[in-house]
Amino acid sequence: MNKSEVRILVVDDEQDILLSLKTHLELDGFGVEVANTAAEALEKVRSGRVHIVLTDINMPQMDGIELLEEIKKIRGDITVIMITAYSSLLKVGNSRFHGAADYVLKPFREMSELDEVIEMAYRQIQRWDKVLSETIELKKKSR
């Protein structure tokens, strides 16, 4: 699976952050979608193929942790990465127990941190994808 086939969904209540991250990840070569609220994000997770969700923790109505829990109920294989400010470190810690794969701290003092976290998630997706295609190959041969 190459990068352009990987769909990343970015979730943040701040439009400007959404647009900036969308462009950043598109320049990295990924396919990117955005959602302004957790509810909108869940709609997109249900209706289409999403591989990675990059979500802010602090959002009105439904926050990032609740969103994470809901996503995991729909599809366990979606990689969820939390974005947060330093002031919400405790929430990040908790998110691990709800199935978050990783986290990135705003305001991205080191831009490379975001890239590394996404790159790592991408490599894992590629590895699982390899298992899947090899399994399919084996099945074909055994027929």
Binding site: E14, D16, I17, L19, S20, L21, T23, H24, L27, A85, Y86, S87, K106, P107, F108, R109, M111
Partner: protein, 265 residues
């Protein structure tokens, strides 16, 4: 509203909460400024082959006052300076947060000379060009107090910002007055005394009487929140010291901070 009244109405730690809020509000827009500047830089990189080809076909072509190589280098310079500024904002926000956390931290021996030097360094870009700064202290005197370094730095920074604003205001009103900021540090048997003197606009007696009232400001709308000197005073009081202001309209202001001298624990 007096300091005591403010505390009564909002509870202890009101200023700390405001400062923490400011730090958070700074970081939020800073995040997308930073990511967008990075995006523009990468997009500009993508345009390079296009620009190379154009330059080859139209050597010496002008774009406003620049030729193409000049324009390209300016574009990069401006983007780099935006990125640098975002790092500076992150540092400022971090310092603000550390300040609010400060009240929980243990006090240590702090050299006020170092505190003043660090604050001056942090304000270099603000003071440059409009103010001549003179720092005087006894060589060999550590001017040591027991306290919280970042809080003390915050208190000194407030004085530097106020002095700078007063000088710039006078320069704007009278034309080119040479701005002067004289800072001196000395020790007595029991105290460390910091004196910050500027030749800015100065204040009337009425204004002077209200400088420690929270939210009182004479700065233009949006420029001051009226919390600088109250915060400075509360930091100095926390360290067992006192702040005194003398000022004359049209001449300048002298701020004197006296802190108990501290020995190594």
């Amino acid at each position: 509203m007096t300091n005591a009244l403010l505390k009564e109405r909002t509870g202890q730690g009101a200023i700390e909460r405001i400062v923490l809020g400011v730090a958070h509000e700074l970081n939020n827009p800073n995040t997308f400024i930073r990511v967008n500047a990075q995006n523009l830089k990468r997009m500009f990189q993508l345009l390079q082959p296009c620009l190379d080809a154009y330059e080859e076909r139209h050597p010496g072509a002008k774009f406003g006052p620049y030729d193409l190589p000049g324009l390209r280098s300016r574009f990069n310079q401006h983007l780099e300076s935006v990125l640098e500024a975002t790092v500076r904002i992150i540092t400022i926000a971090d310092k603000l947060k550390q300040c609010t956390a400060g009240s929980l931290e243990k006090d240590t021996a702090v050299s006020l000379v170092e505190v003043v030097k660090d604050s001056l360094h942090a304000h270099e870009f603000l003071l440059a060009g409009c103010v001549h700064v003179d720092l005087a202290f006894d060589a060999g005197a550590a001017c040591q107090v027991i306290g919280h370094r970042l809080l003390l730095e915050q208190a000194v920074s407030i004085l530097l910002t106020n002095a700078r604003d007063a000088i710039v205001e006078r320069q704007a009103a009278e034309g080119s007055t040479a701005g002067r900021l004289d800072i001196s540090l000395r020790e007595t048997a029991r105290q460390v005394i910091l004196r910050v003197s500027d030749n800015g606009t100065g204040m009337s007696r009425e204004t002077l009487a209200r400088v420690f009232d929270p939210y009182f400001t004479t700065k233009p709308q949006g420029a001051g929140n009226g919390l600088g000197l109250p915060l400075c005073q509360s930091i100095v009081h926390r360290h067992g010291g006192s702040v005194r202001l003398e000022s004359e309209a049209g001449k300048g202001t002298v701020v004197t901070i006296e802190l108990p001298k501290g020995e190594d624990a």
